[in-house]
């Protein structure tokens, strides 16, 4: 379900730990940047990652919809709050140039980071992500919760769809009224009850198979020359972005 794009893409040949590390460094590097120049350079690079992951552009852009909902608000309202040279004067309110610049910068940063993350991690196997998180010292209990969640999102989603279909067969139509809200509440309650009962069965089945709080993974990560080169190139790029941030015009 999660693995879109191509499993055999270049990005998927890179060690997941390297990808996670680069994504984190990249996100922090861009998020705290206050200039346009580094972002303008990093923007196109983020599409390089998407291309390397062989993700479709359509999917990538669809992912950005939720993010840009907030950005639209930001572009509309933020410049009114910032003092500066007025672009549009409307009564006592001024749409300032400085504010617009800041809002555009924030929107570009957010989109650049999200595109990069989709490219680097969007096609990663969640189990590999769990293992990489463990490598970086994330608590095991948290990783277990994460992996169980990932595993059962599809199952619970099917449960939802089954109940929704049953509702549709009984001519339920979602509108904006009390009946709809009450029905959705019941639907969520029903899925919760079924999920909990399922989790009890799962736990019993796992205990029968000798589960004692550890997942064993059959894949072992090895850092190869390719990973090193990829890490090196990306770090060089990040270093030059940071350099531009501090020392350019």
């Amino acid at each position: 379900m999660l693995i879109e794009g191509n499993v055999h893409s270049f990005i998927n040949r890179i060690d997941p730990r390297v990808r996670l590390l680069i994504a984190l460094l990249y996100a922090f590097c861009i998020a705290f940047s206050t200039r346009f120049f580094p972002i303008v350079l990093a923007g196109p690079l983020s599409f390089v990652f998407v291309a390397l992951a062989r993700l479709s552009l359509k999917q990538t852009f669809r992912r950005l919809a939720e993010l840009n909902f907030f950005m639209i608000f930001l572009l509309l309202f933020f410049p009114f709050s910032v003092q500066g040279e007025a672009l549009v004067q409307w009564g006592s309110m001024a749409y300032s140039k400085e504010g617009l610049e800041k809002a555009v910068l924030i929107a570009l940063k957010a989109n650049t980071i999200m595109i990069t993350v989709s490219g680097l991690i969007g096609t990663m196997e969640p189990a590999a992500l769990g293992k990489s998180m463990q490598f970086f010292g994330v608590p095991k209990k948290f990783i277990h919760i994460f992996l169980f969640m990932v595993r059962y999102i599809d199952v619970v989603g099917d449960e939802f769809r089954r109940l929704r279909n049953a509702m549709k067969l009984r001519s339920f139509q979602a509108k904006c009224n009390l009946h709809t809200f009450r029905t959705y509440g019941n639907l969520i309650g029903m899925v919760l009850v079924r999920s909990l009962e399922r989790s009890e069965r799962i736990m019993a089945a796992m205990k029968c198979r000798g589960f004692h709080g550890r997942f064993y993974s059959l894949t072992n990560f090895h850092i190869r020359m390719l990973d090193f080169s990829f890490l090196f190139v990306c770090l060089c790029f990040l270093a030059s972005l940071t350099w531009l941030e501090f020392f350019s015009l």
Binding site: M71, R151, C176, I202
Partner: protein, 206 residues
């Protein structure tokens, strides 16, 4: 109401991530290996439920269920939310990597406050069938309201100039507060009827 990367200032990210980390730590100390599958599957359920869209006039909005999550999970809401938010950031494009802590804190704190406020009531309550609905109603409404207020506070502390933007975003979310209250109310009433022991002890007690 996820905050994206690049919006928050450094100090706000540092403080909120530290607090979120503490919250996740407390939450994790309350689960053991017997209840972890439950916590994970409940996270999955809330994740899927939050993808559900409700039509409001021409547009639509999705549920957050902060109140219901808090009511059921208490402190464990923190790791559950962190896992769901991580998933949403990495695979679905909601929220951000650098703001993961802030987003977890905003929702987690709201969930824990809801638990503290309303769980004692739901435990005691046994009388009229309408009451679970109203407890859920207030838990759902206040949960998302607090979530929104914390969201506003984080943005405002980052940059005072966000004021008007925050106001606009919150106003756009007002209908969701009402919808969330009704949906949570009927979900709680349903659980009280179908699986009352769930609300007596909380789901993580086996």
């Amino acid at each position: 109401m996820h905050i994206a990367d690049g919006v928050l200032s450094g100090p706000v990210i540092a403080v909120s991530s530290t607090l979120a980390l503490a919250g996740v730590g407390i939450g994790l100390s309350k689960v053991d290996y017997d209840t972890i599958p439950k916590a994970g599957i409940l996270s999955a359920t809330f994740f899927v439920a939050s993808l559900m869209h409700i039509n409001i006039g021409p547009s639509s909005a999705h549920l957050l269920l902060t109140g219901l999550l808090g009511l059921l999970l208490g402190w464990t809401a923190f790791p559950a939310l962190a896992a769901a938010l991580l998933m949403q950031t990495l695979f679905f494009g909601y929220g951000g990597l650098t703001t993961l802590g802030a987003n977890t804190l905003n929702a987690g704190a709201a969930a824990v406050i809801c638990h503290a406020l309303f769980f004692p009531f739901i435990r005691k309550e046994g009388g009229r069938p309408a009451t679970p609905f109203w407890i859920g109603f207030w838990a759902g409404g206040i949960g998302i309201l607090l979530n929104g207020l914390f969201f506003a506070l984080t943005l405002f502390l980052s940059d005072r100039d966000f004021g008007e933007t925050i106001l606009a975003v919150l106003l756009a979310h007002l209908p969701i507060i009402v919808i969330e209250a009704f949906v949570t109310g009927s979900a709680v009433a349903f659980l009280k009827k179908v699986k009352p022991e769930l609300l007596q002890k909380g789901p993580l007690v086996s």
